[in-house]
Every structure is written in structure tokens, then in C-alpha cells.
């Protein structure tokens, strides 16, 4: 997991060339869309680079053969120009064709990368997902892919077309005159050193700017998301100051990058002037006796500009290349994550009908807190729940109730011991079957940004493979005694719930989660404080429905209300990850010095103090 949790940009290697090369090879081998037809595209690019040489060559030939001794050979020039025209048309067409092929392939490759990432994210186990920051996963599919997309439509094209132009122009210079060609190429080498040096500082400056952008955006999302807190605590000034620091940091780093890139972009121009001048001087020294002609010299000088121009253009895409390379690495790291072990074993199936729940010597510790010795959320806990039984789990905050629920629905695996459903170790059950048979109704359910009906209907997908119809959903909700509530909604069950259900209250979101569990029709149902936000009056009304929901199903209730606990077949009291008491409610409440009895008494006292004051 460490790979995808790595903060963005941290895997920038000093050696740009090498890291890019490694990524390129990896990308080519894992994304077949990139490979397809690449050879032909490159051939087109080389051919198109020849087009950039046409004008210098024609001018040179025209000067030497067309304008001799004050005469102008129009027939020759016409032939020359005609030929040039044909070549230019063909090479330009080739350039655009290769450009187009490259981009279409790139878009197909990006679509494939996006699909693979979506697929991989959806196949992450809950544990893997929990270990990864959400923003990181979203960034893979959005900003990283967009960076790549920009790179392909601009940077990658520049590398291919400019790279071939440099090579072809260099060869052409050598062909025109080996001595001058060598001088020009040798003189351009120091430029590469300058580039390398500037490029490093440039990448650093961009990196620093990105960090500041991160800080700025972090502060802005706090200004939005924590607006109440910031205002209520008079922290506006404090937040403004720290945001300003990030803004100024971003601005200064970006300006530094801008200055560096200005120098970088112009350095090929400076070298161009120097090389042209030196070559001219050398050409004049060598003189006509060396086999040079006026036309050849002019051609050569124009070729020097053709040879150097692309360097400036490449300098512009260095940062983009770096970004694209690390983006690509991160996406490939995500896609290449190994699957959870269970998928590779042959999965076992659960017995049909009701399911018993057995926890056998189960311990659990949260990995992030493993360094402290006293970190076990559950220790050697054993518990047997019969088919159709309703068990209430009771205990203080941090006693391990929610961890227990997580283990039963397998959103976490025990550190040691096993959890069995119907006698089968759930670690060996196919996750798809498992979640069809076992449902958790969480305290804070997630709602999708669609209608109430669709949010409920989704729960049918796991068992039937399709959404439930709106009419059926309405029937379920009314059967739940939620008819009044539904009628109060502006568009009934077609009312939209907003982002994460923000348009509904916390209690209403819980009602939808309860309806979902009814639609999903599992054999084991785990209610984790599932009605904590529903007000007491409504919950009283729900009591009967909840009972109906539990009928014939094995039910585990993490309870926070006395009625629920007293209605259970059995109560299990947890303390510091161990079961300290278990039994029927009446058994436990009558046990002298029992924990549960003590808790009950404490509550009765609270009730008494309330009635004495009345």
C-alpha cells in the first residue's frame, strides 16, 4: 500500500531521463493501446521531419544553380520549387497524420488506464481502501490522467517531432559539410549542460509551487467546509494569514519557474546566433577551394536554426514530462496492486437458509496503533450466535463494539482467530456472496447523489442484479411506516437527496439505510447504532418495523437504547475488548454485582434524579 499512499510528487528522481525511461517502458508494456501502430507513427514523424529541411535546401540550390552570374535560370527554379512543393505537402500531411495517430492512441490508452483504475479501485478490499487516502484515489482518476492527457497532446508530440527534427537536421548539416556540421554539433553540446542544470532548478521550482498550491487548496476547502468553526471561534484572521502565506509561496515559486523557463527557452537562440557566426567565419576561412559554395553556406546556416529550434521547444515540455511520468507511475502502481488473497483461493460457499455466527478466539488490533502494547481492540473473544437469534452488544466507547461489527461483515480481518458464518470461515468466502448474505446498517450511511427511490433500489443489485422499481421501493417505505415522511417530501420518493444525502437529516439518512437492508434481504443483519440520529418518537414508531426486519434473521445490534437491549434474546457486555457478561436481559439485570445490572442501576438513578426534581 505504501506505493499509492506516497504523497504526490515525492517519487521524483533526480535523474529525469532514467525515471522517465523506466516509466515509458512500463507504460508500453502494460497499456497495449500505446504500443499499437507506434512504429508506423514514428516512421511518419521521421518522414515529416524531412519537410522542415525543404526550404533551406531549395534556397541553397537556387542560389548556387539558379542565380549564376546575374542570370536567373527560371526553368531550374520552377522544377526545384515544384519538387519542393510536393515534398512539403507530403511531409506536412505526414506530420499531422502522425500527430493525429499519436493523440488518438493516447486517448484510447488513457481511457483504458481510466477503466483499469476504476476496475482496480472497485476491486480494492475495504481494508485496502481504508488504508488509502480518498483524495489519493480520486487524484489518480482525475488530475493524474488529465496531466497525462495534456502531455500526450503537447509534450509527447514535441518529443517525437522535435526529436526526429533534431536528428534529421544534424544528419543534413553533416551531409552539407562534415567540418561545419561537426563544429555546430560540438558547439551545441555545452547547451545541453546548461539545459540540464536549469532544468533541475526548474523542476524544483515547479515542485515547490505545487506544494504551495496544495496548502492553498487545503486552506480554501477548510474555509468552505469548516466555515462555522472558523467564524464561531474568531479564527478568520488566522486562516487568512496562513492562506496568504500559501498564496505568496505559490506566486513566488511560479515566478521563479517562469524566469528559469524564460532563460531556458532563449538559450537555444543565443547558442544559435553564436554557432551561425562561428560557422560563417569558418566557412569564409575554408573558402571556395574547400568545395563549399554560397548556396551550401546559406543552406547550412538555415539548417543550424532548424537544428536548434526544437531544443527550445523541448525545454518547455520538461516539467510536463516529469509530471506525466510521475502521474503515469502512480496510475500503474494503482493498477498493479496485488489482489486480496481470497480471490486467488477457490472460494467456499455458505450454506443456504439462515446463518449462525461464530467468533472463535478472535483478537484484533488496529495496524496503525500496533507499536503501543495496549492496542488490542478485541482480545481472544469467542461468541456463538444461533440462527435467528437477536444479540445486543453493549459496552462503553472503545470497548470494541464497532470492531466486532466490522469483523462480522468482514470490513476488517481478525489479527488472530476466525469468524465463521454457517460454519464456514468468512475469510474463505467469496466477498460477493458474503455481502449478499450479511448486511451492516451503519450509523452514518452513505447516500448517492440521486433520488430517495434509487438510493433504496440499489440495495437489490447484490441479490437480483438489477435496481428495484420505484413502485416497489415506495411499497417498502410505506410498509416501514414511512408513508407520512414520504408524503412530506417535495417529490415523494423521487426527491433528490443531494451530495452524500446532504439535503436529508442524519435521521432521514438512517431511515434510508434501514429500508436498504430490508430490500437487500440478507440472512445476517448487523445494526451499528443504526437509529442513533432518529428522534425518540419516530424510533418508537419504528420499533415494530425493526422487529419485523429481524424476524427469521440472525441479528446483531450495537445498541444505544434500552428498549432495543431489553427486547434482544441475549445481551453481551464488552469491556476493553473482552466479553465480561452474557445472558438474557432478565438474567443479567438480576445478577447481583453484575456489570449490566450496575449499568442499569446507574440509569435508574439518573431517572430518579429526574423525577425528584419534578
Amino acid at each position: 500500500m505504501t506505493v499509492i499512499v506516497a504523497p504526490d510528487g515525492s517519487n521524483q528522481s533526480d535523474d529525469l531521463g532514467q525515471s522517465v525511461w523506466v516509466t515509458l517502458r512500463r507504460g508500453l508494456s502494460s497499456v497495449p493501446e500505446l504500443r499499437r501502430g507506434l512504429g508506423f507513427t514514428l516512421a511518419l514523424a521521421v518522414f515529416s521531419a524531412l519537410g522542415r529541411l525543404v526550404v533551406p535546401l531549395i534556397i541553397g540550390r537556387a542560389i548556387d544553380k539558379g542565380f549564376t552570374d546575374g542570370r536567373v535560370d527560371m526553368a531550374f527554379i520552377t522544377r526545384l520549387v515544384g519538387l519542393g512543393l510536393v515534398v512539403v505537402l507530403m511531409t506536412t500531411a505526414a506530420a499531422q497524420w502522425s500527430h493525429y495517430r499519436l493523440n488518438v492512441r493516447a486517448e484510447q490508452a488513457l481511457a483504458a488506464l481510466r477503466r483499469s483504475s476504476v476496475d482496480r479501485i472497485l476491486r480494492l478490499s475495504i481494508q485496502q481502501h481504508g488504508d488509502t487516502r480518498r483524495g489519493v484515489l480520486v487524484a489518480r482518476l482525475t488530475s493524474d490522467v488529465e496531466t497525462l492527457s495534456q502531455f500526450f497532446s503537447w509534450g509527447a508530440v514535441a518529443w517525437i517531432l522535435d526529436g526526429t527534427t533534431i536528428a534529421v537536421a544534424a544528419v543534413a548539416m553533416l551531409v552539407v559539410d562534415v567540418r561545419l556540421g561537426l563544429i555546430a554539433i560540438v558547439m551545441s553540446l555545452p547547451m545541453l549542460l546548461v539545459f540540464r542544470h536549469l532544468q533541475k532548478s526548474l523542476v524544483e521550482a515547479y515542485g515547490s509551487a505545487r506544494l504551495h498550491v496544495g496548502d492553498y487548496l487545503g486552506r480554501i476547502s477548510e474555509a468552505v467546509g469548516a466555515s462555522q468553526l472558523i467564524r464561531g471561534y474568531g479564527a478568520t484572521h488566522e486562516i487568512r494569514v496562513s492562506t496568504r502565506v500559501a498564496i505568496a509561496g505559490r506566486r513566488d515559486a511560479s515566478i521563479r519557474a517562469g524566469k528559469l523557463s524564460a532563460i531556458l527557452g532563449v538559450s537555444s537562440d543565443v547558442f544559435g546566433t553564436a554557432i551561425v557566426t562561428v560557422c560563417l567565419v569558418v566557412a569564409l576561412r575554408l573558402g571556395p577551394a574547400s568545395g563549399l559554395s554560397a548556396g551550401a553556406v546559406v543552406t547550412f546556416m538555415l539548417l543550424v536554426t532548424r537544428y536548434l529550434e526544437p531544443f527550445g521547444e523541448l525545454a518547455e515540455v520538461v516539467d510536463q514530462t516529469q509530471l506525466a511520468s510521475s502521474g503515469m507511475t502512480r496510475i500503474l502502481d494503482l493498477i498493479d496492486l496485488p489482489d486480496d488473497v481470497v480471490r486467488t483461493l477457490s472460494p467456499l460457499t455458505l450454506p443456504a437458509g439462515g446463518l449462525s455466527v461464530v467468533l472463535d478466539e478472535v483478537s484484533f488490533s488496529y495496524p496503525s496503533r500496533a507499536e503501543t502494547p495496549d492496542s488490542f481492540a478485541l482480545r481472544n473473544l469467542s461468541l456463538r450466535i444461533k440462527i435467528g437469534e437477536t444479540v445486543a452488544i453493549v459496552g462503553a466507547t472503545g470497548s470494541g463494539k464497532s470492531t466486532l461489527a466490522k469483523l462480522i461483515v468482514r470490513t476488517a480481518d481478525p489479527t488472530s482467530g476466525t469468524v465463521q458464518l454457517g460454519g464456514v470461515d468468512i475469510a474463505r468466502v467469496d466477498p460477493v456472496e458474503l455481502r449478499r448474505r450479511v448486511q451492516l446498517v451503519p450509523q452514518e450511511p452513505f447516500l448517492f447523489d440521486t433520488t430517495i427511490a434509487e438510493n433504496v433500489a440499489m440495495a437489490a443489485v447484490a441479490s437480483t442484479g438489477e435496481l428495484m422499481s420505484t413502485d416497489q421501493v415506495d411499497a417498502v417505505l410505506r410498509d416501514f411506516g414511512l408513508g407520512d415522511w414520504l408524503d412530506g417530501m417535495r417529490e415523494g420518493s423521487l426527491t433528490r437527496v443531494g451530495e452524500r444525502g446532504a439535503l436529508l437529516s442524519a435521521g432521514e439518512r438512517q431511515l434510508i439505510a434501514l429500508a436498504r437492508s430490508r430490500v437487500a434481504n440478507p440472512d445476517v443483519i448487523v445494526l451499528d447504532e443504526a437509529t442513533s440520529s432518529v428522534d425518540a418518537v419516530t424510533e418508537n414508531r419504528l420499533a415494530e418495523t425493526l422487529q419485523k426486519l429481524g424476524e427469521g434473521r440472525t441479528t446483531i445490534v450495537i445498541a444505544h437504547r434500552l428498549t432495543t437491549v431489553l427486547r434482544a434474546d441475549r445481551v453481551v457486555v464488552l469491556e476493553a475488548g473482552r466479553i465480561v457478561e452474557a445472558g438474557t436481559p432478565s438474567e443479567l439485570s438480576n445478577r447481583p454485582d453484575g456489570v449490566f445490572a450496575g449499568l442499569l442501576k446507574a440509569w435508574e438513578r439518573a431517572e430518579n434524579s429526574e423525577s425528584t426534581s419534578s
Binding site: V55, I59, A62, I63, F67, M74, I77, G84, L89, T92, A95, Q96, N103, V104, V118, D119, L124, I126, G135, L141, S149, I220, S227, Q228, L229, I230, R231, A235, T236, I239, R240, R250, G258, S261, A262, I263, D269, T273, T277, L284, G287, A294, V297, T372, A396, V409, T411, R435, Q439, P442, F448, A459, V461, R500, A520, T538, A559, T563, W603, S613
Partner: protein, 585 residues
């Protein structure tokens, strides 16, 4: 924000007028960098023309005579070539560096204005806006709004270059010059046509990407639900569909772009090659020299890149206008004025509410006809069924919510009114910076120590190697819900506020912890006056007085014994609580 109003004054929403006004705004904000960049660009334009002239001179006056056997003087021509070349490079650096400075300073200006605006708005503003839109304005829209600034000085330079070179070419040769002169407007025209055509698919790409990002967020945020409900197939299908939409639109936009660029790319070399033919005949008739012909060709070649850039600038302009418009729409939301008059309050009261009415944006009346006096030193509990307006009432008391009508009066002595929210928020930073949020330098060490002890923050902080200096949030450890809640409580009581408001704050703690913590807040006198939204008995038992809310109205106020006799709703609530809420969990 003073000059953000340029958009509202714009008569044609996407015309060049709005673009010109936007550019003028940027120039006004940071004139120096813009001036330097423009000077650089103009110098660059002139130097570019001059360079082709110098190059032609070298060919005509040095190279050709030399190879024809003469011994021409070469110094002047060479020095001109080098000198002009260096001028060209220097002016390019001047232009590019200052263009970057101008753009970055303007970006920072937008960022600062957005920050100020977001921090100035009341919380009701955030209910009307989606987080995505606000973040987009702060990030992408602000970026888009300044994209025009990168090619802008260059484009101005190109304009100068165009005029200079057309004059020069006409001077060299009327016919050839006219061909050259006609070339450039034609290219720009072709560019405009292309932009019109490519706009639709480009917009489709942008919209598609936005939807894709939204769906991706939902998939990742709701991952637990996706897994629990077996929605992988549904999610994959929804995302795949959107990926196809984006890819199709992108390929279409690309096809149009490539076709246009092919036309553009072919144009210059064709003009070039044909100029050689025409030029040759002019040379034959003695109308021009070979050197002049070469200069002309070099110049036409040099123009290829600037022209493409000019095209991009024209493309960027509408995008920038659209971006600036979206940012400005956010900046133009006026901040409701704060009343600075401190009304008098009866001496035994800290806060008085008179006929307060709060209406939500969807028209629902959240509170109506609220009259309430909060007495100095009392513990007041607010009870009522879900949706009766308890949290809204607390927001009004705290001053976070401004009533649509009615009055909220605060005693001058109650300067620090602090609320602990239902959902605890921890900001990126250290635990200490969170505890001292908005009160750094005002909280004594002793008070901080007491607060962390009372709210039981010490218990979990002891497990961190860095103690209170431990980083939390994005780049630090993530705290559990209970830990966040305790941190939020400690943050509030460390300040020793005059009025402490607890919005069902302790619900994520178990009943015992809740009772313990509330008891310590009460007995330790962590706040003079305490207002609690109560959902469980513990909070009620501590209250001196209770307010019963129903459907946005106060239906009863009194002590518990009074209410048990006078308020049927209170009796009903207490009964529900008694039968329901007393599980020891």
C-alpha cells in the same frame, strides 16, 4: 474586490469587449510587469524583423561575393547579425519573465480575493453553494481566468511584428509584400473559424470531465456503500459510460484541431516555396536582390510560430473571460452588513432573542416568533423532536445564523460565545494549533491543561510521540470520531468562554463518559453560561431551565418540574427518552 465588477458592466457576454475589459483589469492590477513584458515583446518583434534583414545582408554582401571570388568587408554585417541576435534573445527573456510575473501576480490577486470573500461570507452563504463550485472558483476558474496573460505580451509583440514586417516587405517588393501581407490576416481568419468549430466538442470534454470527476468522488467516498450493496457493476458501468463520452469528445476535438493545423502548417511552407518562384522572377527582372529574397523567406518562416501563438491567444481569451466571470460571480456576492450598534440587554441576561424568524433557502420556516432570554450563569437545555429547529436556534444564539427578521441582543460582557458542533471539525495542523484556534496568546497554559484533562484529550495524546505537537489531518494522523469530539470540546473550554453552546456534542461519547465530561464542565465552571441541545437524559439533568421546541416554535420554557406539569410534548419526549434512551451504551 473593488474592480471585480467588470463583468456586470459587460453588454455582450462573450464578445471581444469583455476580453478587452478583462485585460485592462489585469493591466491595472499589475501595471509594471505588464509594461516590461510588452516592451520586451515589441523589442523582440523589431529584432526578429531586423535579424532576417541582417541575415539577408550577410548572404548578399558577404557570402555571395566571397564565393564569387571577391573579398568583401564582413565585419559590419557580422556584428549586426550578432548584435541583433543578442537583442532578440534579451528581449525574449524580458518578455517571457515579465509575462510570467504578470500572470502569477494576477493569479495571486484572484486567490487573495477569493480567500477574503470566502472568509467574509456568513455561514448561510455556504448552504447555497456547492463545495465543488467554490473550490473550482478558487482553483480552476482562477487559473483559466489568467491563461490569456501568458501569450498576451507575445501577441501584442506579434502585432507589432506583423505591421513592421508588412511595411518592410512592401518596401522591398510590392507584389511579394502584398502576398505576405495577405497571408497573415487569412491565417487569423482561418483560426477564428476553427475556434468556432472546436468550441462545441471542447465544451463537451470539459463538462464530461466534470461529471466524471463527480462520479469518481462519489465512488471513492461511498466505497463502503458500494461494497456493502454490491454496486461495483453499477459504478463501473456509470463510470465507463462517462469515460466513453469524454474520449469520444476528445477525439472529435482533436480531429478538428489536427485538420486545422495541417492547413496552417501547409500554408507557410507553400507561401515560402511559391515566394521563391516569384522572387526568382523578380530577381531576374532586377527588381530585388537575392539577399532581399532570402530575408523575405527567413521572415515568413520566423512568423510561423508567433502566428500560431496569436491563434492560441485568441482561443484563450473566451476561456479566460468565462473563468473570470465565474470567479467574479463568487466575488460579487455581497456580504450582509453587520450591525455595529450594541443594544442594551437586561443586566441579568447575556443574550436576548426577540421575535426571531429564520427561513431556509428552500422557503421552509425553521424558526418563528422566538422570544428567549438566556440568563447569566444558567445552564439551559433545548429539547424537541428531530427537525424542530434545535440546531438552528443554537446557531442564532451563537450569531452564526442571521435571522430573517427579529432581533438578537448580546450583553457587552458576553464577548466570547463559543459553540461545539454536532460534527467535530479538525483542521490541518497540529493538535495544539487546533486547540488554540482563534485564541492563540489568549489561553493560559493552565486553562489549556485543565481543558485537555476535562475533555479527556490527554488520554489519547499521551499515545503520540509528539504529544500536542502531533500533526493531524491531511498530512498527519487521522483521529477517530470520539477523539475528534473530545478535541473539539477541549478547544471550546480552553477559552473559558462567557457562553458555551453544545449542539448534541456528546452524542458520540457513551452515556457514562458524557455524564462525566458534562459534570466536569459544569462543576469546573468552564463557562459562565451553558446552552445544551439535549438528546439524552444526562444533559437534561444538568439543566436549570429547559426550552421545548416544536416545528420551529417555543412551546414551553421552564424547570423540569414545571414542564412535566405544563407541557404535554415535554412529557412525551421524556417518556420516549425514558423508555428508549437509557441503554448503558
Amino acid at each position: 474586490m473593488r474592480d471585480a465588477g467588470w463583468v456586470s458592466a459587460s453588454p455582450s457576454p462573450s464578445g471581444l469587449g469583455a476580453g478587452a475589459r478583462l485585460i485592462a483589469l489585469y493591466v491595472r492590477r499589475h501595471p509594471q510587469a505588464f509594461a516590461l513584458a510588452t516592451v520586451g515583446a515589441v523589442l523582440f518583434g523589431v529584432a526578429t524583423v531586423a535579424w532576417s534583414w541582417a541575415f539577408g545582408n550577410v548572404v548578399e554582401d558577404v557570402v555571395r561575393p566571397f564565393f564569387a571570388g571577391e573579398t568583401p568587408g564582413w565585419r559590419t554585417a557580422f556584428l549586426a547579425l550578432i548584435g541583433i541576435g543578442m537583442l532578440r534573445s534579451t528581449s525574449a527573456v524580458l518578455r517571457r519573465a515579465n509575462a510570467a510575473i504578470h500572470r502569477q501576480r494576477n493569479t495571486a490577486s484572484w486567490h487573495e480575493m477569493v480567500t477574503d470573500q470566502l472568509l467574509a461570507q456568513p455561514i448561510s452563504f455556504f448552504r447555497r453553494q456547492t463545495t465543488g463550485d467554490l473550490l473550482a472558483a478558487a482553483d480552476n476558474d482562477a487559473d483559466a481566468a489568467v491563461t490569456i496573460l501568458s501569450p498576451l505580451p507575445y501577441s501584442l509583440g506579434v502585432m507589432v511584428l506583423l505591421v513592421t514586417s508588412i511595411v518592410w516587405m512592401l518596401n522591398v517588393d510590392l507584389v511579394l509584400g502584398a502576398i505576405g501581407a495577405a497571408t497573415f490576416p487569412l491565417l487569423i481568419l482561418a483560426n477564428r473559424r476553427f475556434e468556432d468549430k472546436v468550441q462545441e466538442p471542447t465544451e463537451r470534454v470539459q463538462a464530461g470531465i466534470a461529471v466524471l470527476a463527480g462520479r469518481t468522488h462519489e465512488m471513492v467516498d461511498g466505497f463502503g456503500a458500494v461494497k456493502a450493496l454490491g454496486l461495483e457493476g453499477l459504478m463501473k458501468q456509470r463510470l465507463d459510460e462517462q469515460i466513453t463520452v469524454v474520449t469520444t469528445a476528445k477525439v472529435e476535438a482533436m480531429r478538428i484541431r489536427v485538420t486545422f493545423e495541417a492547413v496552417q502548417d501547409i500554408f507557410i511552407p507553400v507561401v515560402n516555396v511559391l515566394s521563391i518562384l516569384l522572387g526568382a522572377s523578380r530577381v531576374r527582372s532586377g527588381a530585388m536582390t537575392v539577399g532581399e529574397l532570402v530575408s523575405l523567406l527567413v521572415l515568413v518562416n520566423l512568423m510561423a510560430w508567433p502566428l500560431r501563438l496569436l491563434g492560441w491567444a485568441l482561443t484563450d481569451l473566451p476561456k479566460s473571460v468565462a473563468g473570470a466571470r465565474r470567479v467574479s460571480a463568487l466575488l460579487n456576492v455581497t456580504v450582509p452588513p453587520l450591525s455595529l450598534v450594541l443594544p442594551t440587554v437586561a443586566s441579568e441576561h447575556v443574550i436576548e432573542l426577540r421575535s426571531v424568524r429564520v427561513v431556509h433557502d428552500d422557503g421552509r420556516v425553521a424558526l418563528d416568533g422566538i422570544d428567549l432570554d438566556i440568563r447569566r450563569g444558567e445552564t439551559l437545555a433545548i429539547v424537541g423532536p428531530t427537525g424542530s429547529g434545535k440546531s438552528t436556534l443554537l446557531d442564532v444564539i451563537s450569531g452564526l445564523e442571521t435571522p430573517a427578521s427579529g432581533e438578537r441582543r448580546v450583553a457587552a460582557t458576553a464577548s466570547d460565545i463559543v459553540m461545539v458542533f454536532q460534527e467535530p471539525v479538525v483542521l490541518n495542523g497540529t493538535i495544539a494549533s487546533n486547540l488554540l484556534l482563534g485564541s492563540a496568546g489568549k489561553v493560559t497554559k493552565e486553562h489549556l491543561k485543565q481543558a485537555t484533562a476535562i475533555a479527556e484529550v490527554d488520554e489519547f495524546v499521551a499515545g503520540f510521540a509528539d504529544g500536542l505537537a502531533t500533526r493531524v489531518g491531511e498530512r498527519g494522523v487521522s483521529l477517530s470520531g470520539g477523539q475528534r469530539q473530545r478535541l473539539a470540546l477541549a478547544r471550546a473550554i480552553a477559552r473559558r468562554p462567557d457562553v458555551l453552546l453544545l449542539d448534541d456534542t456528546t452524542s458520540s461519547l457513551d452515556a457514562e463518559t458524557e455524564e462525566r465530561v458534562l459534570g466536569r464542565i459544569e462543576t469546573g465552571a468552564m463557562a459562565e453560561t451553558l446552552v445544551i441541545v439535549a438528546a439524552r437524559p444526562a444533559a437534561i439533568t444538568f439543566a436549570d431551565r429547559l426550552v421545548v421546541l416544536d416545528e420551529g416554535k417555543i412551546v414551553a420554557v421552564g424547570t423540569q418540574s414545571e414542564l412535566l406539569q405544563t407541557s404535554p410534548l415535554y412529557v412525551q419526549l421524556v417518556e420516549a427518552l425514558a423508555s428508549n434512551t437509557k441503554a448503558p451504551a
